[in-house]
Symmetry: C2
Subunit: 89 residues, 2 copies
């Protein structure tokens, strides 16, 4: 089983939040002062977001960085459990 | 007030865990197959760890990545509260 990468879960969570707010890549990238292409790559888990840009994106989404990390931590915990169960089977 | 960066909290938390286990940089970097200099920079918050290397370091420390992110999320939540209180004062 391919291990789950933090950047993929960060990207997925950022995209879910943007969708939940009904906002476009253009809107959020503008508010966060990052390029649209960069945000899109981060959302798809193709690029590691630097700590500074992650803070900007969260600010643009009005989501505390702590909440993002907690959500990602929870998703990872679920993935880790799944991997452990698969190994035990 | 200087904003707290995720990589600084990740580094601090990794170092705390390594100290708690009484292990050296050499030991953990060897187990994680990362260079000693890289691990040292990550611990000092000077370098962003890629998702792959973060997973390796956590594995070397036998700490689930999810636990690391939860701890970092909690530290960030405390820092965000402090910042909010400072702004309100």
């Amino acid at each position: 089983m391919k291990p789950v990468l933090v950047r993929e879960l960060i990207g997925e969570t950022l995209r879910e939040e943007r969708f939940a707010q009904g906002r476009t890549l253009r809107d959020v990238s503008g508010a966060a002062r990052v390029s649209l292409g960069y945000l899109s790559e981060v959302e798809r888990g193709q690029k590691e977001a630097s700590s500074e840009l992650l803070a900007s994106i969260c600010q643009a989404l009005d989501v505390p960085l702590s909440s993002l990390l907690m959500t990602v931590g929870n998703k990872l915990a679920a993935a880790e459990l799944k991997t452990r169960l698969a190994k035990a089977a």
